[in-house]
Symmetry: D2
């Protein structure tokens, strides 16, 4: 009810303020008897962490996850998986400069309006640090999906005004990871790195678009009315910090086409119905049709900038605010594993929901 | 679990196939003692119905809703509101032409893959007819929100390649309803009517974009992590038939701005913190900030067209399909009350969730 | 949230006040492709209806259920099953005698405290009439369970101070239905009939105990911590009007035994582990063990009596109240199909939940 | 869905196997701005722990709870409260004697049937150790309820065949805690201690009945149909390890009374409607009526005994089993804080649900 759980059968619940002693979570409803590679989970966490290159923040968070339950000798027990990530960076910094000031385009003001109280240290619960827990659950979901040959791969499609021209029809994870900004095109990568370095120098920030592809999902997954597969995917993405938009398949561009241009005709291929095109993005009527699921996620530019901005205090006085400390000028590359994680959780959950409908 | 319910506290559950005896629903969790105008609900239903002008289908569905419970002498009892809309158009038409054929970009194929059985008449459960029930619940939610001075108004922003240039900062419902396509600009309306008439003649179809504004919502509404207010709004919209995209505030365009251009600075106005700009679209960290909430919803072109298309049969044979009967070449104007309804349900539900957090 | 839904995967939501135009419900999550015998559902409804003998009220409710969706040619579609039972007995009777009076041990007072408004006619939403909807869903669940060889049979174990001595280890539905009070022992039946006739003459009422047996359920069903199978069964039973107690297996008597007397030792039988005794009532650690599930449900005496009672009015004045009209002096025999229905829904739901845990 | 969460608004989710590294949980939906006494929470945990007297097991679990989030300077933040209790007793004992043997009346067999895998050490997830997490959440709920003058106090009513004659109409917590078995009557306490010492000597075990009283709850709390207040209380109790029965108010004894003997007549007292008697146990139609809520919970005798019992192995061979190690001959006194905790969580959740219904 308070919104800290995601999923209906494979359910992730998270807790944790940015600068408390730890963040963590519980995964309930993970099927039993599945072999998990715990090192692989840690690697996914490392993909999300700050300080991976000089493009991102230099804070050295070393997020180490420990599991307390639900896994025995690498096998899932079917019981809830409790996990914890200690907060290393919780030294008593001086937060007096933001304690009573509402940082523009941050959640300080709205948390105060909602709860009447908030942990001002590092953004508290509103910090994107919470997404580390999503990556833990997502890494598990990805491993489970992989046992069925289902892959979830995302990449950076655009940063600021730089956008890749030709997205690969099928992403290659090595190609993505080879790029400093997780863009599968080297030339675009260079341009993106350039603009990021430029805004960093300016004390400014950039947003971007993450593109994600799910391959191998069989037809028939998704609930058809309110919990359409792409509706749940959309919610999953929009729940990530800084996301302002989601589109699947042809998305906002598709509205410019006529039906005859947009419809995906069916043909037979290898004995299975398949579509000649995939404007739908792999979903018809909210249910997967066996084609690739692909979608885009829009991230606004990071709210934290080093320029002076006008704002107000908790006691309703106008003032100015300028950020200090080390922050990413562009978080979009680090958002790639988060997008993948939320997609994997959503897809696995939908598959388990389908099981519950069989008798 | 099977996805026919929406909301956490104000919960709508719907049932009904397009050509069964009736569609209907239950609204659970409606607060008690609220005066409802039942005629107003019927009027909202009428806004959704086909046959409102020569731009839309000429089927004369007269959707009359009857309420069976939860309301006494116009006052809500706090008990579930059961309602029913008889299906008038359920005469035994000949569906043999589509019984074994998967219509391109419809849900015929995916329903079969999911359930192994489906009601072929008029699309069955996958028909947009189901959205009539959403309008009933949405009309109730709108009335309840209105008692707090909260309005939810949507309009058509684009149809095909025709898009309004300057959207009013605050929509006027009369202005919207005065347009044959629910576009608040008369000149754009004319162009939209023109392209719709054109594709109708061609036997083709169009999509479009619906824009929605929520005014009067106080700050502090929304749950901050997975159930961010705009995540729930996004899911609500993406659950509507034919929707392929959702964006709030600056959306996909906003990613091209720098943080310094995108951030909404706070100033004091009438003794309340307010923002100079509203790139955020009224939500910070998933919680309303007291500014206008506005968002866009992308509808793909209607899948039903009168052109011959390639497809396959249930028993995996390639064939051709051409639609018959009367169908809208563009459903976007009729989608306006559906978007408003889903928005109103989502907002009201979020407000009730906030109540549950008080003690 | 408002408590009008039951189940997690096979979900029943009901609506309806006793004297509104209709009661009804939606069953969501019913598996697809299952053959239903609709006449059989009506027969179960008839088992619940008043006026079956001169022991029960003479009101001639003829509860006819109609289905609006989710079933085509007798087969479930996997989509929600909407159904409706018109209220025949809704003529505008005179309720002025109870409008402002809180009937003792009824829910008039508490509904007013909760909602600030209530439908005074026939108890409104608090009437046991609502349980007719449970019987519709239960009848469907029973049919689905029967396809797996699982039976759910209940009987009357006690009425007032009359209790059957030796309960059959396995109930026979014909034997139960042959009794005017649904007690499988003819001699006890006679005594029960006698006391009911006696209190009827006195204008008084009786309670009793319903006993229920579930046979054929395989081991491994139920969730182990908060949603233990017997916890969900207990909740299901306690949600039925007038129920004040629930016990499974040895129940309250079992606390008097030592562990060595109470433990059910395992032995092999037909190649399967089985227990020599069944004090557990078929559940260990909240999960079925393959033995018979049996439990008891305590119903308080009907609150409506024809004796003068002290009470208060809505405006806090002391007064007296004496019931009028026709009411059952003992509803326990009619509760048998309700108990079976809630048990069947709970068991089926638990089985579907187990499916959702497989991958 | 997998049953490791309890509550709808104030939601506790727990994780942890008996001999993993830790157990723990997340409380989501705790209202913001409430002052918590963390020492008091630890004291409640201490009430549950083994080794409190020579009547209980001598294992020295020192359950220390640590909080990781949701609380700042003793005030709740409205964000999820993550907590953890390390398992001290997790040294690699020899479990080879039970690894392949199904202990009678334990959950070993059913876990294997459900999951196909289980943690055999100390019962794994099926161990009552999990209830420590319930006590943490319950202690918080009790503190929150206390701010409204609501108390939740339980005691031991019966152990084996020894039962207290006259239960105090209003329990006194000091009186209860003064008893070695948490029975408010010194004489009965002595008898209970005696039988426990006796069965301990015999290597046998005992069950009992816990009685619980909730005072100060205002009228109007509870949802009226499926989530009746006593149905949720019943489920809460039946979800506790070893519980086989629940009754509220007059319970199973009440069925022997006539309506005229059982009905609680209303009178005015201090300007408020109140009932002359309280057979209902404080609930009418599932909603609190302002009187004391009281109920009984039946615990079966502990399954672990030191007598040789017949059983079967995982590979379907008959064998014998005799428990080793230190175990309580009677856990009922330690169950008192668990019953209180589950009651407090249920009551607080119901109160918050009522808030969600106001507008």
């Amino acid at each position: 009810m308070a919104g800290n759980s995601f999923g209906k059968i494979f359910v992730l619940t998270t807790y944790g303020e940015s600068h408390g002693t730890a963040i963590g979570g519980i995964i309930d409803g993970c099927p039993a008897g599945i072999q998990l590679d715990l090192e692989e989970i840690q690697k996914e966490l490392d993909r999300r962490k700050p300080g991976q290159s000089n493009l991102t923040t230099q804070r050295k968070e070393s997020d180490r996850v420990t599991f307390h339950s639900g896994i025995l000798d690498g096998l899932t027990l079917g019981t809830p998986i409790g996990f914890l990530i200690p907060n290393k960076d919780q030294r008593s910094k001086d937060y007096s400069n933001i304690e009573n000031v509402y940082r523009p385009s941050h959640a300080d003001y709205t948390y105060d309006k909602k709860y009447g109280i908030r942990d001002v240290r590092g953004g508290g619960r509103s910090s994107a640090r919470e997404t580390a827990c999503r990556v833990v659950a997502g890494a598990i979901a990805k491993q489970i999906l992989a046992t069925r040959g289902i892959s979830v791969i995302a990449c950076v499609r655009a940063i600021g005004q730089i956008e890749i021209n030709d997205l690969p029809v099928k992403l290659d994870v090595e190609q993505v990871e080879a790029s400093a900004v997780r863009c599968p095109d080297p030339e675009t990568t260079n341009k993106m790195v350039e603009v990021i370095m430029q805004v960093k120098k300016e004390g400014d920030s950039l947003g971007g678009v993450v593109h994600c592809q799910v391959d191998g999902l069989p037809a028939g997954i998704g609930e058809p009315v309110f919990d359409k597969l792409h509706a749940d995917l959309g919610k999953a993405m929009l729940s990530i910090n800084a996301v302002k938009g989601f589109q699947i398949g042809s998305g906002f561009e598709g509205v410019k086409l006529k039906g005859s241009e947009h419809n995906d005709e069916f043909v037979m291929e290898d004995g299975e119905p398949t579509t000649k095109t995939n404007k739908a993005g792999g979903v018809l009527g909210g249910i997967s049709n066996g084609e690739q699921i692909y979608f885009d996620v829009a991230f606004k530019p990071t709210a934290t900038i080093y320029k002076k901005q006008q704002t107000v205090t908790k006691d309703n006085k106008e003032t100015e605010f300028q950020a200090e400390g080390r922050h990413d000028p562009c978080v979009v590359p680090r958002a790639v594993p988060i997008v993948e994680s939320m997609a994997a959780i959503t897809i696995l959950d939908a598959m388990l929901r389908k099981e519950s409908n069989q008798f």
